[in-house]
Symmetry: C2
Subunit: 246 residues, 2 copies
């Protein structure tokens, strides 16, 4: 059996997340169906990470086993012909049998985009959150500086998640203002809790609009009894799975 890795981008607006589910359209189901046609056998995908409803990907990684004798460099062209315009396969590579897109990954980077223009940019409305507040850059930068390192992110976890530990290591948490008034937040870590990035961004926006001090982030990290609460959860549409690092 060949183990094929795909690099994938999608506009998540019209999907109920990545993961296959009953009675709702998912990226996984659409992709598995397209792959099934190409490979002429049922295909089941493994993924580097699920994305929620409305979340996008620029660098999602998936893999699947197949007997199909298609050359690896032909896979993207063949699959893209069977996919809707909002999902694109960017690269395919045959991997050793032990490769798994999630277990083999060292880290992941997400990008969250805020649209801070006076009015929303119609061309970015699917990919950016336009908060109705005036935000201070320096507060965002200061508050984000506390995120790097190994911390207990229990305060930044949505209800309903059942993982053993909420300790995660963040190696990058920085803002890029080059596309101003679009502000991009890049966060890289060895793992993320359920809705963690959106809860972090929602809290950073509370800081940036002056509702809570930048130090509240520090307090919320590893401290379940903070005088502050994390959140709200920033909208899904601003979030993009940017890169999976191996």
């Amino acid at each position: 059996m060949r183990n094929i890795k795909l690099l994938l981008a999608y506009d998540g607006t019209n999907y109920h997340g990545f993961q296959r589910q009953e009675n709702a359209i998912s990226v996984q189901a659409v992709l598995e169906q397209a792959l099934g046609k190409i490979c002429r056998e049922p295909i089941r995908l493994a993924t580097a990470g699920r994305t929620d409803t409305g979340v996008h990907a620029r660098g999602q990684v998936v893999s699947f086993h197949t007997m199909a004798p298609i050359p690896q460099e032909r896979f993207p062209y063949a699959i893209n012909c069977c996919l809707p315009a909002d999902i694109v396969v960017l690269a395919a590579e045959e991997m050793p049998a032990e490769f798994h897109p999630r277990r083999s990954a060292r880290a992941k980077t997400y990008r969250y985009t805020l649209d801070t223009g006076k009015f929303p940019d119609v061309f970015q409305q699917r990919f950016a959150w336009h908060p109705m507040y005036s935000l201070k850059r320096e507060l965002l930068v200061q508050a984000s500086s506390y995120l790097c390192g190994t911390h207990d992110f229990a305060a930044f976890r949505a209800a309903g998640s059942a993982v053993r530990t909420s300790v995660r290591t963040i190696t990058r948490a920085e803002w890029d203002f080059v596309d101003d008034p679009l502000w991009h937040f890049y966060i890289t870590g060895n793992g993320f809790l359920y809705k963690m990035v959106r809860l972090i961004v929602g809290t950073l926006v509370e800081v940036a609009r002056g509702k809570i001090p930048p130090q509240s982030i520090k307090e919320l990290l590893g401290c379940q009894q903070s005088q502050y609460r994390a959140g709200p959860t920033a909208p899904a549409k601003g979030l993009t799975l940017w890169e999976v690092i191996y």
Copy 2:
């Protein structure tokens, strides 16, 4: 009666063009309905120029007459509350009675975006055309250099248009490669024939892929008996009404 000018952006993907029509949703109809609610009277818009189905606008200009006593700076906020996310009013200004968005305009700029990446950029799929050919920048630049000046654009006019003259003056026709692999073409003129920009871009792409020589553009300008034919028409989705110049 007050004469209110609005600056407007829209993602044209979901509209059958700007102009109001029977049995199809148009930007004009949606905007007139929202304005009718705000102003509490029937509103009829004048426009700087219609855009076709699927064409976008970053700087469309419209105007309307109203008795409503709303301060001009409040108009964008009030109207945007009643509009879908893909239409945004960016500014409002009270104008002299004689102002008309089309008749008062000196020139218009359109932008056409080509996505020349190996695979389509999913985040630009609504706003860029991804031709399946390999394109040469220098051929695009050379061919476009013939466009500036006053020429007869009869060859770049879609069938069915009924205007007195097909002579137009183009003052800017240039490519911007800064967002490579997205290539932006900016064209400014005192007027444009029906589908003229898309026919020009379609022809430039034929040049850039090596099907016809750059000089064919020169021949097609003012010469109805060229050995070449203009077109095909580039897809609507890559075109944006960029700016109306007064």
